[in-house]
Each structure stands twice: as structure tokens, then as C-alpha cells.
Symmetry: C2
Subunit: 315 residues, 2 copies
């Protein structure tokens, strides 16, 4: 369930584009107006506004936003304004160019999207960067991470709900064997988690727990400092319980003294029109604090207002 | 260039469906009529005929064909009548179910199609078999072949013509190193040939030849009996010179006493509306014999007539 709130009567894209232009003009920028429009439109509506804006004013809306606003607020508005596939392509490219083992964004994009969404990301990536996503991932990663990430970003998983129980049984056994041998990057393990359909994989992991007494992620937590194991656990969580995965990303982003604005912005802009409501519920359950209060406590100014608006609350 | 010949005035799909129904009815089947219609329609036209036929007669055209005709003739007509993506999905599934290292069909489908065509094959595969293509390939292959085939069938290569020359130089060097070390399944080698765009890969292979004096396929021919090396050479040929690859498949299918009808049918039905004319030219150049004469000499009956019609000649 999404948190995005769209008004009952939506102005025409032409009116929205005109209002945005007004928000940019004159002395200072009207940030509230920008938020009141963009944070309350669907992806298709934002696309229409961008198209009309470029036709009318001879400049890309994203360029105007870049000129008028800045910092975390700009990043939140720009990421949100992009089409979901373009946004993911940009996030993936940022990560790939300065790739670090602890970064889980590629896994998020590969595993917490539908098969068709991931494919659209691959198309958008090519259109923008003139290379394929898997080509860049393969060229910028190495070792166990490459063995895992390239098939994950290249996957086009079957999405039917059919489950083969005897296969779930035999592959649970195989996974357990490899994990017991600490062969975490064994090609059979990677094959299973990168090619099987999500319902099939969930059946396999249920079988794993029933048969061997612990969840696979417990067994993949033998060394909390091992970043490859953390990546494997993220794959499993993005596939089996994305809302709990995203809750944790937000929790860690907010926790402690500083805030990880990049992570917070990413989760809120990528999930506001998907399942942010469910993530909010998971957050409340885990932290006994409404997500909106936590966000208000940790952010400020227009950036805060943008996130609160995307969370579906009044600013 | 295609060999497919479509009449200047094409009957409506309704008329075609009616004629086909007539060809099936009564005493015996009118094979000539079947050929005269189906072998002279584009994929879109055949699709329209199938759709109208099913609506009108309450039976799939492919089912009627299966009841009325048989053997090599049936296989040629049925494969041809399928949509290209469905046909490739069927061919891939046949191969995967009884996979053998010497079989190059998966490589053909992965490397001698455009990126979008390959993606459509993956979609068609899921629609028909309720599993993903890469899932089946990964589950039914092993060792070096799996390392090569899974990324190849999962690829969505960039199709722009941009070439990075310094990258071509460095990757030619890398390929030469790995081949010199006989590390033919090294992950860097597989990465390069399975993810780079075709123009980029061709530039790399030109660089390889300029720098090291021999084509990569000469260097990959150190052991003619090694089937993995044969697979690698097929990848290179399907990407760099598909017409020469297909010429060779046809040549070997026809050569000697028996005929490999499966291979002959596959190449003619998959290439008749793509580049069979160019393959014909390559065949003539290599064998000093027109392909149509070779096919006439090696086949007979309705099967022969179907192939000749697809080759664009009168039967």
C-alpha cells in the first residue's frame, strides 16, 4: 500500500507546469508550492507535467529544479520526479561508479522490484548511459560479489504463483549443504537465489526452516562483519519480506546522531507509491514510534516537508 | 535480407484461414495449398491467420496442422507458423530438456538475435513453460557451459553503435592473456563476451587480430574435439558473422550421406524472414553450389517443397 496522496481533482499538467514555473520565478523560490504539486502526483502525472513543461518553457523541469533548489531537498524532489525506471537506473549508476561491498542498492533494485520493473530499469539504464546495466556491474565488481550481482541484475524471474514442492525440498537441502560447508558463493546457491521465481524461493526457504530449524538468514549470520553474507541476507529479505528490509534501512538511516539522508530519501522516494504504508507499519511495530515522527525528529526544512508529504501527512 | 516472398496482394486472414480449412478437409490433405499460403506470409500475417482460424473453427491452427501432416514437413510448417519468439522458446526448451554440450541452439538464440528479440523469447518461454529460460538453463547445465550459457541467455546487450577504442584494446589484451593461459572459462573472458555490445565486441576482436596476428577463433581452436571451445567459437561467429555461422550449420546438415533435418529446418525457418538471402550467398561462395540445389538434392516430398518455398523459389 502506497502513502502517496493524490487530490480528488487533479489540475491539468498544463496548470501544474505553469504553477511550477511560477514557483521558480521572482525573488526566491516557492518550495511549498513545488511540494504541494509534485509530491501529490502519480508517476504518469509527473511524466505529463515534465513533458508539457519542456514543451512550454524550452527547458527540462529537472534542470529548472536543479537551478532553483539544492541539497537534500533537491535530491528528494528530483529522485521523486523521475520515472521509477529512470530513478532506479540513476541510483544503480551512482552505486556502480563508486561501488563498495557494503552498498545494497543494486540488490534492492534487482530483488525488490517486479521482473518487468527490473527490465524497464535495464532499458532506462541503456537509454541514459549507453551501456547495459549488467555490463557496468560486471566491469566494476569482482569476486563473490560479481558472481552474485550480475545474475541478480540480469534476472527476469517467472512471476506465476505455481510452486514445485519437491523442488523446494531438494533445493532447501542443497542450500543447507552449501551453507553448512560455508560455500556461500557456490554456484548452486547463487543459481537458486538468482533464477527461481519468488514464490518458489519462498517455498524453498520455508522448507529450509521446517527441515533445519533455523531461518536461512540466521544461518547466513555466522560472521556479522562479512559483507558478502550481509548482501546474501539482503537478497533474501528483499525477496521474502521487502517491507522489513526497507524498515531496517530506514531505521539504520535515522538511528544514532547523524542521519543517512541518501538512504532515507531513496527508500521514501522509491516506495511512496508502492508499499510505504506497509513499511510504516513495520517501522511502528519495530520501534514503537510512528515513522513520520521519527522523520520529523531527524530532518528539517523543505527536505523534511517533502518527505512528510510523500509519507502522506500534512506539512 | 530475407528470402520470404509475400504476394503483392495478400488475401485477408479470413480467406487464408478458410483455404487452410479446405486444405485439411475431405479425402487427403492438400499440402501444396498449405505451403502456398503459410510459406508466403509474414509473421504478423501468420499470427492473424492463427487468430481468425481459432475463432472460426474452435481449434488452434497448429493443432489442425498436427492432425493433418507429419514428419519433417510438419515440423517445418509448425516451426515456421509460430511467432519468432514462440518458436525460439520452443527450440530452447527442446534443447534444455535433453541438453548436450555439442548442441549450439541456445548460443544461436542468445547471440544471433537482437536484444529485444532475445527478451521476447524469455517472455514467450515463461508464458509457455511457466519457468524462466535462465532458470531452466541454469538447472540443466553445469560446469563451464553453465558459466557461459546463463549470462548469454540473460543478456540484454546495449545496441548503440558507440565503440570505446581504449576499452577494446584493454579487453583484447585480457582475452589474449586468458586464452594464452588456456583459461577459457575465466570469468573475465565470459564477462566480456556475454555483456559487451556487439559493436564493442567486434572492435575488441579486430583489435585482437591486429595486435596478436590471429583471429580469436583460430586461437580458440587448439583442441578441435573440445566442445566448450566449439561453443565459444559459435558465440563469436553468431555475434560477428551470423551468416557464416548459419552457412556452416546448413553445410554440415547437408554434408555426407544422411541429412540433419532438424538443423536444416531450424536455420531455414528462423532465418527466412531475416537474412537467409545472405546465408544463401555465403553458401554459394563456400560450396560453389546454390543452396536451393543442395536442399533439393538432400530432401524430398512436401518437406522439400516447404523449404524451397521458404528459400523464395518456385516449387
Amino acid at each position: 500500500m502506497a502513502t502517496l496522496k493524490v487530490p480528488a481533482t487533479v489540475p491539468s499538467p498544463t496548470d501544474d507546469a505553469e504553477q511550477l514555473r511560477k514557483a521558480f520565478k521572482g525573488w526566491g523560490t516557492n518550495e511549498r508550492l513545488i511540494i504541494s504539486i509534485l509530491a501529490h502526483r502519480t508517476a504518469a502525472q509527473r511524466r505529463a507535467i515534465r513533458s508539457i513543461y519542456a514543451q512550454t518553457y524550452g527547458e527540462e523541469l529537472l534542470k529548472s529544479l536543479d537551478d532553483e533548489i539544492s541539497g537534500d531537498f533537491e535530491r528528494a524532489v528530483v529522485l521523486w520526479t523521475l520515472d521509477p525506471a529512470e530513478r532506479d537506473a540513476q541510483l544503480a549508476n551512482e552505486v556502480v561508479r563508486k561501488w563498495h561491498q557494503s552498498n545494497l542498492v543494486l540488490i534492492e533494485i534487482a530483488c525488490a522490484r517486479t521482473s518487468d520493473e527490473l527490465f524497464q530499469v535495464r532499458r532506462a539504464y541503456q537509454a541514459r548511459y549507453k551501456r547495459s546495466l549488467e555490463e557496468d556491474v560486471a566491469a566494476h565488481t569482482s569476486g563473490d560479489f560479481r558472481k552474485l550481482l550480475v545474475p541478480l541484475v540480469s534476472a527476469y524471474r517467472y512471476e506465476g504463483i505455481e510452486v514445485n514442492n519437491s523442488l523446494a525440498k531438494s533445493e532447501a537441502k542443497l542450500l543447507h549443504e552449501k551453507i553448512s560447508e560455508k560455500a556461500y558463493s557456490h554456484e548452486e546457491l547463487v543459481r537458486i537465489i538468482s533464477t527461481r521465481s519468488k514464490p518458489q524461493l519462498i517455498a524453498t526457504l520455508n522448507q529450509y526452516k521446517n527441515e533445519y530449524g533455523k531461518t536461512i538468514n540466521k544461518d547466513l549470520n555466522s560472521d556479522p562483519k562479512n559483507e558478502y553474507l550481509a548482501a546474501l541476507r539482503a537478497v533474501i529479505r528483499c525477496i521474502c519480506c521487502p517491507e522489513r528490509y526497507f524498515e531496517k534501512v530506514i531505521r539504520l538511516a535515522i538511528k544514532g546522531l547523524g542521519t543517512d539522508e541518501n538512504a532515507l530519501t531513496r527508500v521514501i522516494t522509491t516506495r511512496a507509491d508502492v508499499d510505504l504504508k506497509v513499511i510504516e507499519e513495520a517501522y511502528y511495530k519495530r520501534n514503537s514510534l510512528p515513522l513520520v515522527s521519527a522523520v520529523k525528529g531527524d530532518t528539517s526544512g523543505d527536505y523534511k516537508d517533502m518527505l512528510i508529504a510523500l509519507l502522506g501527512h500534512d506539512i
